[in-house]
């Protein structure tokens, strides 16, 4: 059965590419370096209205990509990463809104990143790729949005690192964002989260195949990337969800075998996640993107988050999840407090969920309910309702 006939699906979609920042007009990065040319991979579903005021930009998390919904081929095993939320009649209703999702710079899903060819050498950048930040990612997306002729985004939305980009959009381009929905995110990465990222990077860089990042065309540092992903997955779940999902269940056996094989179900799960990730993700991109998250701190340069958010004009829906210990609710509250002190209209809710950080991909019904209504009322608010 073709996915095009599935109700609520955007159907068969394709990734598009936009290239800009050709030398000498390279993109100025926060680090002081320049990057160009830059290609951004993006997908776009639904029709833009006449004044292009119905566009929603979805921002993806660490390992996400532009393929947010639908399928590329009818026989694809899985649809896009947020298919449950994007499509006709869904939270981001493609019969009403034009939904855009772009891959980040530094990524490995069609956008310029460390696996791209460095025009200066004719070889993949590897670690010669400049460090990029969340603000750089957003600045690159701004070029895409300008290219599409959109003056103001109706909504920017994302979970986790996608939420960071949503916040950054509202700060960097206040006049271009009408509504912002940062989910399960933070205004500054915590020491704990930096620590987990650092361990993941160490695992990759300690892999003998890493070869200083110049492993393209050779054996890839799969063991290191695999470990990094396993650590990541632990942080995305909660104690309770792990217990419920796996408990102390043994994998394909009824009695322990007293060896170092895969004994418990949770081990098998992590192995599987690690193996799958290695097939689809570039280790250098993992280094660069986690680094971008580490540097994210919206309270800089003044150190005062309220002050740094003072230019924001968007109305906000901030969402956290009770069992998310990677980006705990207090981090969302910090954002809400700073926004509120700036008299920004903001709704904040902490959703009771056992899914941990992953809840932003799983609590579909609750999120849909909140988001549909939040988007719906935006126009009424304009009319002073």
């Amino acid at each position: 059965m073709s996915s095009i006939t599935e109700p609520g699906s955007v159907g068969i979609v394709e990734t598009k590419y936009f290239t800009f920042a050709e030398p000498p007009n390279e993109l100025q990065l926060e680090s002081g370096k320049k990057l160009g040319p830059i290609t951004l991979a993006y997908e776009m579903y639904g029709e833009m209205n006449e004044d292009k005021s119905n566009c929603i930009l979805i921002l993806h998390a660490l390992s996400g990509d532009a393929h947010v919904a639908g399928k590329h081929h009818p026989d694809d095993r899985k649809p896009g990463w947020w298919d449950s939320m994007v499509g006709p009649g869904k939270a981001f209703d493609t019969t009403k809104y034009c939904v855009i999702c772009s891959n980040v710079i530094g990524g490995c899903k069609g956008s310029t990143g460390p696996s791209s060819i460095d025009p200066a050498t004719g070889k993949p950048y590897g670690l010669r790729f400049p460090i990029v930040t969340i603000a750089d990612m957003v600045n690159a997306q701004k070029h895409l949005i300008d290219h599409l002729g959109i003056k103001q985004l109706f909504c920017v939305v994302g979970g986790s690192m996608g939420g960071m980009q949503a916040l950054q959009w509202a700060v960097s381009y206040p006049d271009m964002v009408k509504l912002a929905i940062p989910i399960a995110t933070t205004a500054r990465l915590s020491a704990q989260a930096i620590a987990f990222n650092a361990v993941g990077r160490h695992a990759i860089m300690a892999d003998p195949n890493f070869a200083g990042g110049d492993y393209y065309g050779k054996q890839i540092p799969s063991a290191g990337l695999r470990i990094a992903r396993m650590i990541g997955h632990i942080t995305y779940l909660s104690d309770k969800s792990m217990h419920r999902k796996f408990g102390r269940g043994l994998q394909d056996k009824t009695a322990p075998s007293y060896d170092f094989g895969t004994e418990f179900q949770v081990e098998s799960y992590l192995n599987y996640q690690g193996d799958e990730f290695v097939k689809r993700f570039d280790a250098n991109s993992y280094l660069y993107i986690t680094k971008a998250m580490d540097y994210f701190d919206l309270s800089q340069p003044s150190g005062d988050l309220k002050k740094e958010l003072s230019r924001v004009k968007a109305a906000f829906l901030v969402i956290s999840f009770s069992s998310d210990w990677l980006f705990p609710p207090y981090m969302s509250k910090e954002i809400v407090t700073a926004l509120r002190r700036n008299n920004v209209d903001v709704t904040y809710t902490e959703i009771q969920s056992d899914y941990g950080h992953d809840a932003f991909l799983l609590e579909t019904d609750t999120l849909t309910n909140l988001i549909v209504n939040f988007l719906e009322y935006a126009d009424q608010r304009d009319n002073g309702f």
Binding site: V336, T347, Y348, N369, N373, F374, Y377, F385
Partner: protein, 221 residues
């Protein structure tokens, strides 16, 4: 915007929400206290019915704080701005006198530190509107005095073991509290809400009213 400009759809919506007055007759008196175009913060706003009425009827710029995520979803469905928060933690996020009215309807009796929150409300709001079930209502007194049991009435419907009301007060106690804490009472409305239609009580309110609404502010000077 004069009343005549209110659109038909808005009028229909107002009517839909004012039906809540049947269930919560005290809301009508609270709505009457609020000046049009004010900034209003409702602490423990529940599903946001009162805020919605104020937004529609008084063009108030409203926001609410609520603990239940289910109730917050209901508020978002009404297009309101609300945030998840625990009132027992106070209002540290809010600047002094930053809203026109802070509203606490039937809320202070469920708090761990009602005295703390009332003072916080008076700090943040230029005025506060606080409503309470009156524990000194004659039916409560009767049940304690003659039946020797914890009172159970329409305004206080719980059993002793499952009641959320841990700090019940009386009209007399509340007025005394305001005097002691430098709160000036600007308006009092005493009601019997258990009968329909809800009636105002003029005589012996502490005995004859089951519900009271106070509009107050911090004493100046």
């Amino acid at each position: 915007m004069p009343t005549s400009e209110i659109t038909a759809s808005k009028a229909a919506e107002i009517e839909k929400y004012t039906k809540i007055f049947d269930e919560r007759p005290e809301f009508r008196y609270i709505v009457d206290m609020i000046k049009p175009g004010s900034r209003v913060l409702d602490l423990g706003c529940g599903e946001g019915d009162l805020l919605k009425i104020l937004q529609l009827q008084k063009r108030a710029r409203v926001q609410g704080i609520e603990l239940s995520d289910q109730a917050i979803q209901a508020c978002v469905a009404k297009g309101l701005f609300v945030y998840h928060g625990d009132l027992d933690e106070g209002l540290a996020d809010f600047n002094d006198q930053s809203v026109d009215y802070v509203i606490l309807t039937s809320t202070i009796q469920v708090l761990h530190r009602p005295d703390f929150l009332i003072l916080e409300a008076a700090r943040v709001g230029r005025e506060c509107i606080i409503s309470i079930p009156n524990f000194a209502y004659w039916k409560n007194r009767f049940q304690l005095m003659f039946l020797g049991q914890m009172p159970k009435t329409k305004t206080l419907p719980y059993e002793w073991y499952d009641t959320p009301n841990i700090h019940l007060t009386t009209i007399r106690d509340f007025i005394r509290f305001c005097g002691e804490r430098g709160l000036e009472i600007l308006e009092k409305v005493y009601l019997v809400t258990e009968h329909k239609p809800c009636k105002r009580v003029k005589c012996c309110p502490n005995l004859l009213a089951d519900y009271a609404i106070f509009r107050l502010r911090r004493q100046t000077g």
